[in-house]
Each structure stands twice: as structure tokens, then as C-alpha cells.
């Protein structure tokens, strides 16, 4: 009995001792790695500082202007070119819809066909505010496909974006 216990505890001590040393050495190894990485980081950081300074030096406005004159000859924007904000630009006028055709489907444009195939629940699950009404009608009532789904002319960019988002 006593011998068995001794052997057991000796084994435990041996294993623990080995484990301790193993952990210690692996931690030391990791710390060495960390130190090396950190030293490398410092070197890289210094290099980045130098490169950043060099980049700034190379992108001085004066130098850029000189390069522009030599290679690009870009002129600065004149107020006339800027005289409209994006909100002022009118939308492309929408062509009037072609006359409704009695015969079903032969004249339906591909775009509309795609619209029709889109599952209705996608549109239905979306919040109502995001849905332009015209795509909704098409999606909810796929049978009404005789006349092409006519997008009402958007009055603003926001509306246009909403429409585009709705069509996708």
C-alpha cells in the first residue's frame, strides 16, 4: 500500500514538475517572440513615420501643381461649372408609356417581366416607406402586366434612389 501511494505521488510530482517547466519554457518562448515582434513594430513604425513624411513631401501642393501643369493640365473648377447644386439638376424626362396593348404579354418588356417574377413577399415585408408605390402595384398584382410598369418621374434624388433601391 505504502509503496503504491509513493509511486502515485512521485508520478504526480513528476508530471507537475514537467508541466511547470514546459509551461515556463513555452511562456518564455512566447515572450521572446513578443519582444521580437514589438521591436519589429517599433522599426516599422519609425519607417512609417519616415514614409509618411516622404509622402507629404512628395504631395506638396506646389509640387502637385507643377506635375499637373506638366502632365495633366487640369484647371481649377470655375464657379460657372459649380453654379448648380446636385438638387438643381433636373431628372431626365420620362417618355410617355406606349399605348396599352390588348393582347397579353407579347409586348411586355423584359424589365417588366423581371419585375413580375420577383416574389411578392420581398416587397411586402419591406417597410412601406421604402417602397415606391409603382413597383408595389406590380409586385402585389402580378397579373396586371399588360401596360409596362411606369415609374413616376422622380421629383428628387432621394426619390430616384428609393426607386432604384426598390427595383433591385
Amino acid at each position: 500500500m505504502i509503496r503504491l501511494g509513493t509511486i502515485f505521488w512521485a508520478a504526480v510530482v513528476g508530471v507537475l514538475g514537467f508541466a511547470t517547466f514546459a509551461v515556463t519554457y513555452s511562456v518564455q518562448g512566447l515572450e521572446d517572440d513578443l519582444l521580437r515582434v514589438r521591436k519589429q513594430t517599433v522599426v516599422e513604425q519609425q519607417e512609417m513615420r519616415t514614409l509618411e513624411a516622404e509622402w507629404t513631401y512628395l504631395t506638396q501642393p506646389g509640387r502637385l501643381e507643377e506635375l499637373n501643369q506638366r502632365f495633366l493640365s487640369l484647371a481649377s473648377i470655375s464657379p460657372q461649372q459649380l453654379s448648380r447644386t446636385i438638387a438643381d439638376i433636373p431628372m431626365r424626362p420620362i417618355e410617355p408609356p406606349p399605348p396599352a396593348v390588348a393582347a397579353v404579354d407579347t409586348t411586355v418588356p423584359a424589365a417588366v417581366a423581371r419585375e413580375v417574377k420577383r416574389p411578392a413577399e420581398t416587397a411586402a415585408t419591406r417597410p412601406a416607406a421604402e417602397r415606391p408605390p409603382e413597383t408595389e402595384t406590380v409586385a402585389v398584382k402580378p397579373a396586371v402586366a399588360r401596360a409596362p410598369a411606369k415609374a413616376a418621374a422622380p421629383r428628387s434624388l432621394d426619390e430616384l434612389f428609393a426607386q432604384v433601391a426598390g427595383e433591385r
Binding site: Q45, T56, T59, P79, S83
Partner: protein, 596 residues
């Protein structure tokens, strides 16, 4: 063991093979028993103490290893950070968009221990090949074998260091040193300043950092925009060469925050090659030039800026209720007071209304307006605009304004049109920003303010007066002395001032200081500008004129057209009915406006 066994052996019927069950040794009563009892209790105490101690150690282990946080973790993390690079001794300086204006670079210096170098001649030859700018003879003479430490070259470039390192000559080594580098060179020289050899700031923000910035680990972000700075720098250089002027200065300020977007003072210098004492000693001429170049006209200069002061004078008269837009003053005759005569440059010789006085820049009318307001009121308003105290600028030195200690009537009159008081251009632009922005005076600042925050300001004039002043300043650009400052689409307004410089107690007629102060867009001012040129000479294009309307006003127009897109100011239709309505002075409507 001493224990004697007391066996219950007295049973005669006990079988032979039967042994009584073992039991604890029986200690006979006596001193031995007592001793053993004492030992036991001591053992118990020792066991208890050890258990407690190991328990504490176990708890501590669990605390350190298993539980997060705590001092141990903090100290471990701290130890890890000890390896991180030491922060540079000076913070970087960046502009409002993050472009580097000043940075600290590690630049190695090459030194040698000549005693360790085996073949000095060959070494000198090899080093000279990798370090352009140093001759073989020079290096050889430096490698004096009697010494054990000599500098070969300070501040090598990375490429040079690599080349020298590759030579593999024993006895050569590098000493890392810090060096301040200004990638933009002279572009923002007067704002950024420069560092001396000891790496301490000697001018501008560099000096301010030493005194006022505590946290040196983060870059100092200035309000400056390097692109705008470049445009102003570029155009002012052109003004100097066009009019063979002695110098020029310009400043662009955000009227809503007091942020300085551009600040240029010419002549300037390259902070990468600051002036050394040796250079100063070389020649008196060079010293004088260096002195001029280092002088920041905007913050340290103080000038009698002339008619530009009528902005403050008119604002004072309108805000205090002394004058109204329709009130007229007698400008038909020059005013004689003491030994002075006050005349008009663009004389009309009749009674003029307040807008006309401002538009034609009538000295007589302005003087009469100021006299009517009185010395006390004038002084009060100038103090409100911050013209009697040094500008409260952070991070840089500023000049103290000069004005009469006793305010006589003649002072009141001359100060009305900007003579007899000298202020720094920075003070003037700060005051004008308050006049046009709705009447709130902001501290001028070189530090970027968080976007969207409204810095505290002091109301100096009413919003109504500010609106009237905007109309008046717009009038000057539309019909008055500053028509050449107009930039189509950007609704510029402003006021010119051409002052004769006071030299040795009298005014020198040919030595002018031409100034334009303006703001744009006048319907909702965002930026104020001051452009100033020192001793311009008229040329053919200006028919010999060197006044502000001919020199700095066109430059201002070009500057605004170039910087407005950068600053995101959208151009507007200047002829749109709303705009015309907003900027028209009712009392002048229907009247024919004479050209000046």
C-alpha cells in the same frame, strides 16, 4: 517505539493461534505522555498555520491567474508596453486634414572610433563613396587615430545609412538622433515656426508647444488647411513680384469659429534650415534678411491699416445709434484741426450718406461720424472689437497694439479712418469676422475646433448692425473701391485701405501699405480674409496705381476663386432676386451710384 504492549493474555481459554487484535500503543502514564500530548498540540498548530498560509497562496494564485483585472494584470500589461517605442520628444504638427506640417524623424548619425579602423585610407575612400557631399580627404582628416570618438556625419538619410552599413567597416557605428522635419518647407513657416539645434521650439507653434502643450504623445492638429495656405502663399508671392513689393501678408479665418485657415507672411523662410547663430554672425546684411524673414507680419506686426478701419468706425456709429443708413454728413470741405488737414482721396465735395461715406471711403465723413459718437464710445467699441488688447492667440506670440493714451478730438478723427492707431492684422481680421458674422467676437485660434461645435463668443454688435455692415461691404465690392475683388458666384464684400507708412514721425507718400479685408459669401459669411502688401509699386497694368484696389483686391479675387471650391463654399447666382434683395441698401435704391 517505547510503547510496551499490555496484552490481555490472562485468559486461559485463549487458543494458541489467537492473537488479540492490535491496538494503539499504550503509553504508560507519566512525563512521557505529557510530552507526547504537547508535541501533538504543537503539530496541530503548525499544521493549522501552514494550511492557512498555503490557502492564502492558493487564493492569491487563483486571483492572479483566473480572475480578470487587478493590479497584477495591469503591471503585466505595463511591462509589455515598456517595449513600445518611446514617444517622440516633440509631437507632430498636422493641418486640419491631417497633412503633416512637422514631424520628428529618427535620423542616425555616423560616428567612428578611428583606433579600431584597420585601414583608414581605404575606409575614408569607401565612406566618401556612400556619403555624397563629403570628400575623401575630409573624412580621412576626421579619422584622427589619436581620438576614440569622432562624428563622421550627422543626420544620415535611410539610404546613406544602408550604404554605410553595407560597407561593414569595423569601428563605424550609428547613433540614433531625432530631427525635426517640415515636409512642406516654407509653406506654413510662420505658423509652424522652427526648432533650434537643441530641438526646442524657437518660433511659432513649435515654441507654443513647448510652453502650452502638455500631452506630447498625440499630434497637434492646427486649424490650418495646407491647400488654402498654398493658394494664399502662391498668390501673395505673385503680388510681390508683380508690384515689386517688400513683403506681403494674408490670413483667412472662419468667421463662425475664429479658426485660422491660412496665415502667410512674406518674406518667409524654410524651417528645415533654420537660422543658426553662425549664420547670423556671418554678415549684418544676412542678419537683417533673416530678421525680416522670421518676422510674422500677421501676429507680431502692427500697422496703421488706414481706411479698413472705417469698417469698425461705421459699425460703431450704426450700432450705437449715432448714425443711420440714411443719415448724411458734410464732406464738402476738408477738416482743419490743429496742424492736420483731413482730406478725401476720392473727394465728392458734398454731403454724403453713410453708405456713400463707406463706399467712397470718405475720411471727412468718417471723421465727422466719429466725432459725433465721441471719444468714449469710440474707445469702448474698439475695445469690444479687441483692437486695444493683444489678440488672444493660442500657441504663438502676438504684438501689443499702439494707440494714444489720451484720446483727443484729433485722435478720434484720425482713428476713424485708421491712422493714429496701429493694430496687428490678426486683430483686424478677428474684429471684421465679428462684424460680418452676426456680431459675435470669437477668439482667433490656430487649433482645429471639433466640427459642429460653436465656440463661445461675445456679442459686440447687434445682428442688425452686422447685416447692415454686410450690405455696406458688399456695396464697396459692387460699386466702390474694391470692384476688382469681386469673384463671380462667391458674393465677396470688403473694404480696401491704402495707408502711407509712418516713417520717422511723418508719413512717407511713396511707401504704401495696401490692405483689403473682405468676407464671402456676403449673404451668409463663412470666411473672412485679410490681404496686405507692403510697399507695392504700381505697374503698367495698374496705370501706376499701387493702392489696395489695384494690388491686393485682384489677388483676393483670385484667391477666393481658388479656395472656395476647396472650402466647400457653393457658388450662387449673384443676380438672383433673393440675393439682390438681401444685399441691397434700401436708401440707395433708385439712386444713381456714381463711380468713385
Amino acid at each position: 517505539m517505547l510503547a510496551a504492549q499490555r496484552l490481555d493474555d490472562d485468559n486461559p481459554c485463549r487458543p494458541r493461534h489467537f492473537k488479540p487484535p492490535p491496538c494503539a500503543p499504550v503509553v504508560p502514564e507519566g512525563p512521557a505522555t505529557q510530552l507526547i500530548d504537547a508535541c501533538r498540540s504543537r503539530l496541530a498548530v503548525v499544521a493549522f498555520v501552514l494550511t492557512v498560509l498555503f490557502g492564502v497562496v492558493a487564493l492569491r494564485d487563483a486571483d492572479v491567474v483566473l480572475l480578470p483585472g487587478g493590479a497584477a494584470e495591469a503591471s503585466a500589461i505595463h511591462r509589455m508596453h515598456l517595449v513600445a517605442p518611446p514617444p517622440p520628444s516633440r509631437p507632430d504638427i498636422v493641418d486640419r486634414n491631417g497633412a503633416l506640417l512637422a514631424t520628428t524623424l529618427q535620423s542616425p548619425s555616423l560616428y567612428a572610433d578611428p583606433k579600431e579602423i584597420l585601414d583608414r585610407a581605404a575606409a575614408a575612400k569607401a565612406i566618401a563613396a556612400s556619403l555624397p557631399g563629403l570628400s575623401v580627404a575630409e573624412i580621412y582628416s576626421r579619422l584622427n587615430p589619436a581620438k576614440s570618438f569622432v562624428w563622421v556625419k550627422r543626420h544620415l538619410t535611410p539610404a546613406e545609412q544602408y550604404d554605410v552599413n553595407r560597407l561593414g567597416i569595423p569601428g563605424l557605428d550609428f547613433q540614433p538622433e531625432e530631427r525635426r522635419f517640415y515636409p512642406f518647407g516654407d509653406l506654413a513657416a510662420h505658423v509652424v515656426g522652427y526648432c533650434g539645434i537643441d530641438n526646442r521650439g524657437s518660433a511659432g507653434v513649435e515654441r507654443g508647444i513647448d510652453d502650452k502643450v502638455q500631452d506630447k504623445s498625440r499630434p497637434v492638429q492646427l486649424s490650418l488647411d495646407a491647400r488654402v495656405q498654398f493658394v494664399v502663399h502662391d498668390e501673395l508671392k505673385r503680388v510681390i513680384s508683380d508690384f515689386s513689393a517688400k513683403g506681403a501678408a494674408g490670413i483667412v479665418m472662419d468667421v463662425r469659429t475664429g479658426e485660422i485657415i491660412a496665415l502667410v507672411s512674406l518674406p518667409d523662410f524654410d524651417p528645415n534650415k533654420p537660422f543658426s547663430q553662425a549664420e547670423f554672425a556671418k554678415s549684418a546684411n544676412r542678419l537683417a534678411n533673416a530678421d525680416k524673414a522670421i518676422f510674422n507680419k500677421i501676429t507680431v506686426g502692427d500697422y496703421e491699416i488706414g481706411s479698413v478701419f472705417k469698417i469698425f468706425n461705421t459699425a460703431m456709429a450704426l450700432d450705437s445709434g449715432v448714425a443711420t443708413m440714411t443719415k448724411t454728413y458734410d464732406a464738402s470741405h476738408p477738416i482743419h484741426i490743429g496742424r492736420f488737414t483731413i482730406e478725401d482721396y476720392h473727394g465728392k465735395h458734398r454731403w454724403l450718406s453713410v453708405p456713400e461715406i463707406f463706399m467712397y471711403s470718405s475720411n471727412i465723413g468718417s471723421a465727422r461720424m466719429a466725432v459725433e459718437a465721441g471719444a468714449a464710445r469710440q474707445r469702448d467699441y474698439l475695445a469690444r472689437f479687441g483692437l486695444l488688447k493683444p489678440a488672444p492667440l493660442d500657441l504663438d506670440k502676438v504684438s501689443t497694439p499702439h494707440f494714444p493714451s489720451v484720446w483727443h478730438e484729433v485722435n478720434v478723427m484720425t482713428i476713424a479712418f485708421g491712422h493714429g492707431i496701429s493694430v496687428s492684422p490678426l486683430q483686424a481680421i478677428t474684429g471684421v469676422a465679428a462684424v460680418v458674422n452676426g456680431g459675435i467676437l470669437h477668439r482667433p485660434t490656430l487649433l482645429k475646433q471639433a466640427p459642429g461645435t460653436a465656440p463661445p463668443g461675445v456679442r459686440v454688435i447687434s445682428a442688425k448692425t452686422s447685416e447692415q455692415m454686410r450690405k455696406l461691404m458688399r456695396l464697396v465690392v459692387e460699386y466702390g473701391t474694391a470692384t476688382k475683388a469681386a469673384a463671380p458666384g462667391y458674393v465677396v464684400g470688403g473694404k480696401t485701405g491704402t495707408a502711407e507708412k509712418a516713417l520717422g514721425g511723418h508719413y512717407a507718400e511713396k511707401k504704401l501699405l495696401s490692405t483689403f479685408i473682405g468676407a464671402f459669401p456676403m449673404n451668409d459669411p463663412k470666411y473672412a480674409l485679410l490681404m496686405m502688401v507692403d510697399e507695392p509699386h504700381g505697374n503698367k497694368q495698374t496705370y501706376g496705381y499701387a493702392t489696395a484696389g489695384w494690388t491686393v483686391a485682384p489677388a483676393t479675387s483670385r484667391i477666393i476663386q481658388r479656395i472656395a471650391p476647396i472650402l466647400g463654399v457653393p457658388p450662387v447666382d449673384e443676380n438672383s432676386p433673393q440675393l439682390v434683395q438681401a444685399l441691397t441698401i434700401q436708401s440707395l435704391q433708385g439712386k444713381k451710384i456714381e463711380s468713385y
